[in-house]
Subunit: 150 residues, 2 copies
């Protein structure tokens, strides 16, 4: 399989990242892999924010996974900092091969390094396999996740 | 009842904010209103981050509510920016008086102003009244919220 590395995403990674975002039952309806313009602008906003880490997993010279980690300071829980994991995607060639676990473990370690006391994520109610995956990694399904589209 | 204002939280608000965080079935176990030191440090981190808005609702000269709004850029959904609402608390004197609605409506308007396409929040599964409240305001309970304590 080759060695796995995890590094910050760069503009050259965008075609593969957006391809992975779109190669998903939910993502297929809401991404535009043929027009990368909005993604380029978003990557610039992410790169400018020290509380954002958009990373890719790389095997050899291929991008095979991605994840976004946001660090959120706050007052609750005695001024606890928390992190939020978003937009986890694994290339179809790599699914069920342990890469998802490695990416989440990276995010948990990075959260510890940034002194977070809590790691959070939400997962669409339809992603039942993902729910089992997060529970195996020690996450607790303690909350209901609400969304409002503007 | 007097006019209601919503403004950025300042260090002088901390005793009342932390009192509200602690005056809650879940918060009572995890806050320390007698020692504000960790909260002061957290407020400094929040004030230094342009993607954070920690606000208080003020009626006359009394702080009666609080909410944290985080702006999160991202690649998913064609580079959509989203916002996350955290740590909503209403003073016990003001509950069921419409202040919660006004605070959430402020957060939604601020999210629009910051060009967010999505507003998210999670609520502990035990907070059944809060779930009905968010659904009345147009939020959809579409996700499962996972947490991992570090």
């Amino acid at each position: 399989m080759g060695d796995l590395g995890i590094r910050a995403a760069v503009p050259e990674d965008l075609p593969v990242i957006v391809g992975m975002l779109a190669d998903d039952p939910l993502g297929a309806q809401r991404e535009s892999p043929d027009d990368l313009t909005p993604y380029r602008a978003a990557l610039e906003r992410l790169a400018a924010d020290p509380n954002q880490r958009l990373v890719v997993a790389v095997r050899g010279d291929r991008v095979v996974g991605t994840l976004q980690l946001t660090i959120i300071p706050g007052l609750s829980r005695r001024g606890a900092t928390r992190s939020i994991i978003e937009s986890v995607r694994i290339h179809s060639d790599e699914r069920a091969g342990g890469l998802g676990t490695q990416l989440i473990e990276w995010a948990v370690e990075e959260s510890r390094r940034r002194r977070c006391q809590l790691v959070q994520l939400t997962s669409d109610t339809s992603r039942v396999d993902a729910h089992r995956f997060y529970e195996r990694l020690g996450f607790t399904a303690s909350h209901v996740g609400f969304k409002l589209h503007l």
